[in-house]
Each structure stands twice: as C-alpha cells, then as structure tokens.
C-alpha cells in the first residue's frame, strides 16, 4: 500500500508541475507578444521622433513634417466620443444592472451585444449617411460621433458587469436604512463599482483611440491644425494609414514614429486611470 501511494503521489505531483509550467509558458507567451510589438515599434519609430515631428503638420515628401495636428485631432475626437459615450453608456449600464431584469432590459442587452460585434467601418458608413451627407462635408463632429457609437455598448456592458459584482448585501444595507432605490444605485453601488467602471471606460477610450476605419468616411483627414468640430479633422490612425500606404521610405518611417506615439498615448491613458482609480477604501 505504501509504495502504491508514493507512486500515485509522484504522478500527481508530476502532473501538477507540468500543468503549472504550461500555464506559466502561456502567460509568458501572451505578455511577450505585447512586449515584442512595443519594442519593435519603438526600434522602428524612435529615429524619426523629434520635437518638430510632434508639433508640426504634414508637409510634402522630403520636407519633413509632423503629426501635431493628428494628435490634436485624435484628442478632440476621442474627447467628444468620451463626453457623449461615457455618461450615456454608464447610465445605460446602471439601468441594465439595477432595473433591467425585464423584456426591455433583455432587448437592450441583445442590441448592445450586437452593436459591439458590428465591424467599425459599418458604424463609419452609418454616420456618413446620417451626419456627413446632410452636413455636406466630413467633420470632427462626425468622427467623434462614430467613435461615441462604438464606445457606447462597450461602456454600457462593462458598467453592467461591474455593477453586478457589487454584493447585494450592500444594496440591502442601504435600503434597510430607508434609502430610496435611486440613491442606493447612485451613492452606494456606483462608488463600489467605480474602479471597475473606470477600467472599462479606459479600455473603451483606448479602443476608439486606435480606430481607423470609422474615421475614414467621417472625419476624413486634414493637413492643418483644425480646432473646429464642423471641419474635416486629422487623426493619428488615419495619418498612420496615409503614411504607411505612401510610396516613400520617409513616409514609412514617419508612420512608425506616429505608431509609437499612438501606443505611448494609449499606455499613458492606462497608467493614468489606474492611478486615479486606485482603491482608497
């Protein structure tokens, strides 16, 4: 009996070591890809980086030029998308989690999930018909709206998930004190889920910052600094697309540098939100 137990135990330990190593290898693999991408972009892009590149506007090939207007345009359109998408998405998420246990909630949930799955270029075409055609031109407004539409269902669903994670006992505790339902949602449940919701919002922002397709039809591009939402607007992603598809090596180098800036910005958003929403209680 003794030897059988030992043998069995050895086999169990062996399996355990094997499986743990396997999962560790997979974890390393998953992170290594990100590190590879980031370092590759850094190596290719860093040589073209300069102050002039960061603040300048595109110029004819050979005369240098920069992506300052693209950074500004991306920031403005992402801001517009966040201003529309975050409040509406978060409110919709609260509704779905706290009051949406009915046919209406189920319908909204189904539509949101479908919307998440729709390719972003179709959102671009939709906004093109809805905003660009009536306005008669592409604009930052149309681009921001397209990004907001992409953000909305993501924010709504992650908010809902996060709010569902708040233990019911907390709601009951507040209800038992004589708090009306809306106050429970607003001052107990929402703060308890805040860091999760912020993470979801950040991911949604990062996602739309990296979108190219919906901006092609809506914001188009611009070679100039443009601070007006009713005019065509440049964006990092579309600028990268233009540089990368250009025929000249200089343009490709600038595409790499712009990519580096884009990835850096998204990383910055991540770190910033993590810092702001770190657990205080």
């Amino acid at each position: 009996m003794g030897s059988a137990t030992t043998l069995f135990g050895r086999r169990r330990r062996l399996t355990n070591t094997l499986m743990t190593s396997l999962t560790a290898i997979c974890a390393i693999f998953a992170t290594a890809i990100l590190l590879l991408i980031v370092s590759y972009i850094a190596v290719r892009g860093i040589s073209s980086l300069s102050f002039e590149f960061l603040v300048g506007t595109p110029k004819p090939v050979g005369e240098g030029g920069g992506i300052g207007n693209a950074i500004a345009g991306s920031a403005m359109m992402t801001l517009l998308a966040a201003v529309i998408g975050l409040p509406v998405g978060i409110a919709a998420g609260i509704y779905l989690a706290e009051y949406g246990r009915n046919w209406f909630g189920n319908t909204v949930r189904f539509i949101a999930d479908t919307l998440i799955g729709i390719p972003s270029i179709i959102i671009g075409i939709f906004v093109y018909t809805l905003v660009v055609l009536p306005m008669g031109r592409q604009s930052g407004l149309a681009g921001g709206l397209a990004l907001a539409i992409i953000m909305l269902p993501i924010v709504a669903r992650t908010t809902e998930e996060m709010i569902r994670l708040v233990p019911n006992s907390m709601r009951e505790g507040a209800l038992a004190l004589g708090a009306p339902q809306w106050r429970v949602s607003l001052n107990i449940v929402l703060p308890a889920a805040a860091s999760g919701i912020a993470t979801g919002a950040m991911l949604a922002i990062a996602r739309v910052t990296g979108e190219t397709a919906p901006l092609l039809f809506t914001a188009l591009n611009s070679r100039f600094y443009n601070l007006y939402y009713d005019q065509p607007m440049s964006s990092l992603t579309v600028q990268i697309f233009n540089y990368a598809t250009g025929p000249f090596e200089v343009e490709h180098a600038m595409a790499w540098a712009a990519t580096l800036i884009l990835v850096g910005l998204i990383l910055l958003i991540n770190i910033l939100v993590r810092f702001v929403t770190r657990k205080r209680f």
Binding site: S169, M170, E172, G173, L175, A176, G178, A179, P180, F281
Partner: protein, 252 residues
C-alpha cells in the same frame, strides 16, 4: 405589555413555493423576541417581511397583515422608505459600505435629513457608535475605511449605522453567526442594552443565544410557527412536543 408589531395570517410565496404558512404573532414593544428553528424553516424570510425587505426579490408575494403601530405595512400606498427608517435591520453578514467609518454611520442620517448641521451630524454619529459599543475602538480612526475593522467591529458598525436613523424596531438576522465568542458576547450584551429603547427581533441559530438575550421565543419549522411563548417557558417547559424535540437536540 404594549404590542408593537401584530402579524396575522401571514403567507409568503417565492413564486409558486410557499415559504410561510399562516403566521400569526404579536411582538411587544421594548422586548427582545427571538426566532429559532432549523435551517430553511422560514425565520429569515419572516423577519424580512417586517420591513418589506423581500420586496426586492422577484416573484415574492405576501398575503396577510403586518400591523406596526396600528398601520398595515402591506396596505396599498405604504411608504416603504419611511417604513424601513422606522424598522431598521442588521444582516447576517456585516455589510459596511465602501466608505469611511464615519460616513458609514452618517449615511442614513444624511439621506433621511435627520441632522440640523455638521456638529449635530458628528454628535449623532458619535452617539450611534457609543450605543453600538464601538466608539472607544474607532474614535481615533473615523476617517479610515470600514473594511479595515475586524468582523465583530464591522457588525457593530452596521448596528451603529442602523441605530443612527433612530428606528423604533431593530431586526437582526443572525447578527452574530459569523463572529467569534467574544464578539458574539459583545453583540448579545448590546442587544440586552438596546431593549430599553428599541423593540428587537432577532433570528438566531444558537439556542443558548436565544435563551440568553430574549424575552420571548418563537419556534418555526417548515414555514409554520410551532410555538410562541416566554423564553423561559419555551426552554424549560414548552407546550409543543416538536419544540421540546428541537431544543433538546433530538433533531435539527
């Protein structure tokens, strides 16, 4: 004795499943009434009908009457928010809010607009914490997270939070079941102390606890009220054979 809560012919359903069958009983003012019985006997369901906490459960349905101070709380048009302010509740698992110790106690006061100014709010929070025998332990760290407290302290914080809105009845659903003996003893002493000003209903799995703290004991089984008598009678000379079997440990 003055009756505070009078329950008559109360049935409760979770969807199609009937969880309570024709419960009738009278809870006197400023006494401690304990509900005992095996798991799933309906005592928690029953205590939650007294402040309409079951309203939040989909498919829940109540028939019968619960009359508090002459008003049927299940009558149409009852202000559930006002009811819950009058009938406070402490839960089995302590459930502090993700806020500071001070804000946990202040929350109920603020939303009900009980305080007149900031000083008054502070006084009320201190009072509630003193009544819950927690003040001395937390007075120097009121602004720290409630999650930093021990389990027993968290539960007393929840009691303080419930007391801060000046209820008349305090419902306690197994308030000490997750606590160690010393923390349990503190809660029990507190219950006896609170009896002077509040009507207290306490659900407990622990029969010794019921015997120690309560004036009257109700024994439930399978959704029915088997016996309701003075606590000493229930534990020394119960009317019902089932009660005797349960308290002597023949089953349960």
């Amino acid at each position: 004795m003055q009756t505070k809560i009078s329950i008559s012919n109360l049935d409760f359903f979770y969807g199609k499943v009937q969880a309570l069958h024709g419960i009738s009983l009278e809870i006197p003012e400023r006494e401690v009434v304990a509900f005992i019985g095996p798991s799933g006997c309906g005592k928690s369901t029953f205590i939650r009908t007294l402040n309409r906490m079951n309203d939040t459960i989909p498919g829940a349905r109540v028939e019968g009457e619960v009359i508090i101070d002459g008003e049927n709380i299940y009558a149409a048009g009852t202000d559930v928010v006002a009811l819950r302010r009058k009938v406070g509740m402490v839960f089995q698992k302590s459930n502090p809010f993700p806020k500071s110790i001070f804000d946990n106690v202040a929350y109920g006061i603020k939303i009900n607009g009980i305080h007149s100014n900031k000083t008054d709010l502070k006084d009320r929070v201190e009072n509630a914490l003193r009544n819950a025998a927690l003040w001395e332990e937390v007075k120097d760290r009121l602004n720290m997270s409630a999650f930093g407290l021990s389990g027993g302290q968290q539960q007393r914080l929840c009691i303080a939070r419930a007391l801060a809105v000046e209820p008349e009845v305090v419902l306690m659903d197994e308030p000490a079941s997750a606590l160690d003996p010393i923390a349990t003893q503190k809660i029990e002493e507190l219950v006896v102390e609170l009896k002077r000003n509040y009507t207290i209903v306490i659900v407990t799995h622990n029969m010794q606890q019921a015997a120690r703290v309560s004036d009257r004991t109700a024994f439930f089984m399978l959704g029915k009220l088997i016996e309701f008598n003075r606590t000493d009678k229930v534990f020394q000379n119960p009317d019902e054979k089932l009660t005797e079997d349960y308290i002597t440990g023949r089953f349960g």
